[in-house]
């Protein structure tokens, strides 16, 4: 019998260069405590990096901060689960428009940008975007493997 683990963490970080590394560190520590595998931790890391650089690059807000919330659970009953919310108080955007303009692999001319949302979706089990004139929240969920015993 392993114990049930519950983890909560909230952070308010300055929007400065490479601040995503602090987020990666925090998310990785949490995911590890929940018993996620190395590759799963890496996927979470790559997803939060993209969410953070989007907040820093696109939010364009006076409030130069990124708000993070992590909630993790892990127990014998089910798969470990880590939820992450990345919020900025920036100008927001229309996710549908952004997705429509998303870059594709067009042979011969891979486009420069527009991969962030796709990377988040590819690495996480669920990505929801809530965005409006007072800011954006990216909500991401990752499930680990059921623990072996």
């Amino acid at each position: 019998m392993t114990e049930a683990v519950e983890r909560q963490m909230e952070l308010t970080l300055p929007m400065i260069e490479d601040i995503e590394i602090a987020v990666v560190k925090t998310a990785s520590d949490l995911a590890r405590e929940l018993g996620m595998s190395g590759d799963q931790i890496d996927e979470i890391a790559h997803a939060v990096v993209e969410a953070c650089i989007n907040a820093r690059e696109h939010a364009c807000c006076d409030d130069q901060r990124i708000y993070l919330r992590f909630a993790g659970t892990s127990s014998d009953e089910g798969k470990p689960k880590l939820e992450i919310w990345v919020t900025d108080h920036g100008r927001g955007f229309d996710p549908e428009t952004a997705k429509a303009h998303r870059q594709h692999r067009s042979p011969g001319s891979p486009r420069k940008r527009g991969w962030g949302l796709q990377i988040m979706e590819a690495h996480m089990d669920r990505v929801d975007i809530e965005s409006g004139p007072s800011g954006t929240t990216i909500h991401m969920v990752k499930y680990g493997e059921r623990r072996e015993r």
Binding site: E20, K25, H46, V49, R105, P110, K112, A122
Partner: protein, 120 residues
């Protein structure tokens, strides 16, 4: 938090192996690009990027690598990668980079397949 990208280069005749260590973000990508362009100006047409000590990348950094691949292709050269973590490899696939550059599991394989001559 200290994740400055470090780059080391090993020249092998007309080819070179570039080793990265650390986070490939925009600055890291530019650092790699600058070193790659120096090597290209110096005649290198086959460049292997060994990412063994890079555990994390972002989409801006990788988009810069795509530019480097394109510039090398314009000069009829080739860029290949080796020693990617599974998640970086997956990210390369998402971004379509895997279509334009060969990816090898380890350096030994890459050196053999690409016929990289010994250190000159």
């Amino acid at each position: 938090m200290t994740e400055d990208l470090k780059v080391a280069v090993q020249r092998r005749g007309d080819a070179a192996i570039l080793y990265t260590k650390g986070y490939i973000n925009n600055l890291g990508g530019e650092e790699i690009a600058n070193r790659a362009y120096e090597l290209m100006d110096d005649g290198v047409r086959m460049l292997l990027l060994n990412l063994r000590e890079t555990k994390i990348v972002n989409s801006i950094g990788i988009s810069i690598l795509i530019e480097v691949i394109e510039k090398m292709a314009e000069r009829d050269g080739k860029i290949a990668f080796c020693c990617l973590t599974p998640v970086i490899q997956k990210t390369f696939q998402i971004m379509g980079l895997a279509q334009y550059a060969q990816i090898f599991t380890d350096e030994e394989n890459a050196v053999r397949e690409l016929n990289l001559t010994a250190s000159a």
